[in-house]
Symmetry: C2
Subunit: 436 residues, 2 copies
């Protein structure tokens, strides 16, 4: 078997066998299939696509390029959630403690933010002392003791994906649905989960800006997951506006704690609760979606979700007082500038993409993989879509430290560009656009 012949076949629109895909993925570790062959292959896959069978074989081979963690000694269902990423998307920090409180174990391996989107790991690391680099033994122990665990990808988990992901990033071959499916599922299935809930974002601030692309990815992921024996439930949710009020790492931890205390904004609570409810149904701890939603709401009302979050923060070395006094514990920016409405009316829209770009300029996100981030920086909206404003009202706070203070005028301009104020109140609509 020669890689060049397989690349040629895919280039010409042909199909690769399961054995051939296993050979190609196995060749990443042995060096038998060097990176320059894989990058040509990923371009050919982006061009020609993959059948569901090929995609499933790719997931399987990448999954088994490393350790597939066995959590079967932990009683009950293990269910995780994955989001394709957005602006202000801190649902992981909210729904994982909720699901844990309701009896579903959530073993979550997350990533870092890149570009205009944030990453769960960066948010968690803004909690003083919080460690995301647990070894597998600690991962199991925390999952068992807390019902949830929140770590970063380890060397053992899908090493082939790490190589391919870096390669795709450098060769403009990220936007391929079979390759995205394989990357996400290989990492997620390696966690030891029984089922997965998928939050596919679409709209201005999403990677899949177009609804049909989001649907195609959701269909691919649910189909391939089910073919591999792991139920996958997908929601397509709107990422036209930032989710919740806070964008930035410590600021989003603060907002998540607010949500776990029952004081979260409607949009963020809707998406978090809908996703958590799907996890409960897949995990078999709720009879149906309505029952699941009711249980999730109860876990917030009775403080059990917040308690789970407090326990996992402590178990992972973080300061658990973040649950009681987040503003006292979390890092704070030196200055807060104010963005004000230039006219009266209703907030008709806040475009997520420029808000994500603006928060990156403040140091809250990474322009490059090796950028360092400022945990305290970011933006907090005091007005949300649908709110009435008067001219001069504060729409958003800009939290900045001296290193990025020079960006504030540009951030103000970007927020002005992102925020639409209209005469009429916009209609309210659900952020959950589709269920697959």
């Amino acid at each position: 078997m020669r890689a060049v012949d397989l690349i040629r076949r895919k280039r010409d629109g042909g199909e690769l066998s399961t054995d051939e895909i296993r050979f190609l993925v196995g060749g990443i570790a042995t060096g038998e299939v060097p990176d320059y062959q894989w990058s040509a292959l990923t371009m050919a896959i982006l061009w020609r696509g993959m059948t569901p069978r090929e995609t499933a074989a790719l997931v399987h081979a990448m999954l088994h390029s490393g350790t597939v963690i066995d959590l079967s000694d932990i009683p009950g269902s293990k269910v995780d959630k994955h989001s394709t990423g957005g602006v202000g998307d801190k649902t992981s920090l909210i729904l994982a403690p909720i699901a844990a409180a309701c009896g579903v174990t959530v073993p979550m391996v997350s990533g870092r933010g890149l570009g205009h989107t944030g990453g769960t790991l960066d948010k968690l690391e803004s909690i003083p002392g919080f460690r995301i680099d647990l070894d597998l033994a600690a991962y199991r122990r925390v999952a068992r003791e807390c019902g949830l665990v929140l770590i970063g990808q380890t060397a053992e988990i899908a090493p082939a994906d790490r190589v391919l992901y870096a390669l795709r990033d450098a060769t403009a071959t990220v936007e391929s649905i079979p390759l995205i499916t394989a990357s996400i599922l290989s990492k997620k299935l390696a966690e030891g989960i029984d089922a997965l809930v998928l939050d596919v974002k679409t709209g201005d601030g999403a990677f899949m800006a177009k609804r049909e692309d989001a649907r195609a990815l959701a269909e691919s992921m649910t189909r391939i997951g089910r073919e591999l024996g792991k139920p996958v439930q997908a929601l397509i949710t709107s990422m036209d506006a930032p989710l919740g009020r806070a964008v930035g790492n410590a600021l989003e931890v603060w907002e998540s704690v607010e949500c776990l205390k029952g004081r979260g904004p409607d949009d963020l609570m809707e998406v978090s609760l809908e996703l958590a409810a799907e996890m409960l149904v897949l995990g078999g701890v709720a009879a149906n979606h309505d029952d699941a939603l009711a249980r999730c709401r109860r876990a917030i009302a009775d403080g059990s979700a917040l308690d789970r979050f407090r326990r996992v923060v402590a178990a992972q070395g973080g300061d658990p007082r973040v649950c009681d006094d987040p503003l006292g514990v979390l890092p704070k920016a030196a200055t807060v500038e104010l963005f004000r409405a230039d006219r009266a009316g209703f907030v008709a829209g806040i475009r997520a993409w420029p808000v994500g770009q603006a928060s990156m300029l403040l140091g809250a996100g990474r322009a490059r993989v090796d950028s360092t981030i400022d945990p305290a920086a970011g933006i907090v909206f005091r007005k949300a879509v649908g709110d009435e404003v008067r001219a001069g009202d504060v729409v958003a706070e800009i939290h900045a430290n001296p290193l990025h203070a020079a960006a504030v005028p540009q951030v103000l301009a970007m927020l002005g560009d992102a925020t639409a104020i209209a005469v009429d109140r916009p209609p309210r609509s659900s952020l959950v656009l589709e269920r697959l």
Copy 2:
């Protein structure tokens, strides 16, 4: 400028600027654009194509990745010929001495054979002592003294092409017309030529098996060459049957000497003379095509072409007696097996591709870049297309040494498969299919 953004643009069907192409090619030498980015880019180019302007910019950048030899101190025109490769194609050894004898300097940088096709360098090296690895000073000296010089690619000539060619070979991105155009023209224009004649082969034994692909390549090469200020004249010639009687390195040198003595077979002489005549016209030493053809025939009749070959062989360290007693000087195979006709009739066709494969099995060609070849091995046809045969007549000789003798039964079967014998004499037709 980031390579990944340029790959993305090409992937999406966009166009690259001349500066961007220069950056990408320059990045090969500096390492700024690593091989894995180039291989994804070549796949994107194979997919999306390149405009003539992009292709010209690519040729220019690859040409200037190394030394562009200046032969302006040699009087008269410098014209070379390039063939896209075939089976039994030894026209370079015939037309270069003819053109030199007629007053056109031929500074020829050639390649080795790969797969079912032979290479000029391998043929020349079957002449005892012949050296193809001259340095640039010797290259100039031999070109000036003999009117022709025949070497292999040096480190100075289009180094970017060497890297890209190896990469394309390993990533199934060879078959792209802009990339083929850039590879050939960058090497050829670096030789210091004023004009180029191109022999684009089509048919069973050619890389461009389909006529329309051959035409597209010929059009691309002539257009881009002219855009870069170098006249390019292309012939599309048939490679359905092996060219001439001999296939194999020393055997083809023997046949070339026969041709230079005026004893060559019609098909080989037709293609060699037509190409040589184009070189004379481009080189300005003949008034028109008919005049050029007459001069070429005269150079054979008066022995001046053979004399040029004798001089270049001697100048490059080879044994010049190859021109007087080729069979005495050239290596000979230990055994000659005979392939006979199984019925009476007319030879209706001899498919070039299986003949090339068969000669490779005998050691005359390379299955892999690092295969060693047997200079004496090969096949000599005693019957050509159109000849009448009786059952039992010898159609071909199989020249084999012990290392590859085990392949002889398979070679016999392949020759049987390649040779069609029909009741009626096939019509005769010119091998020159088109002129561009």
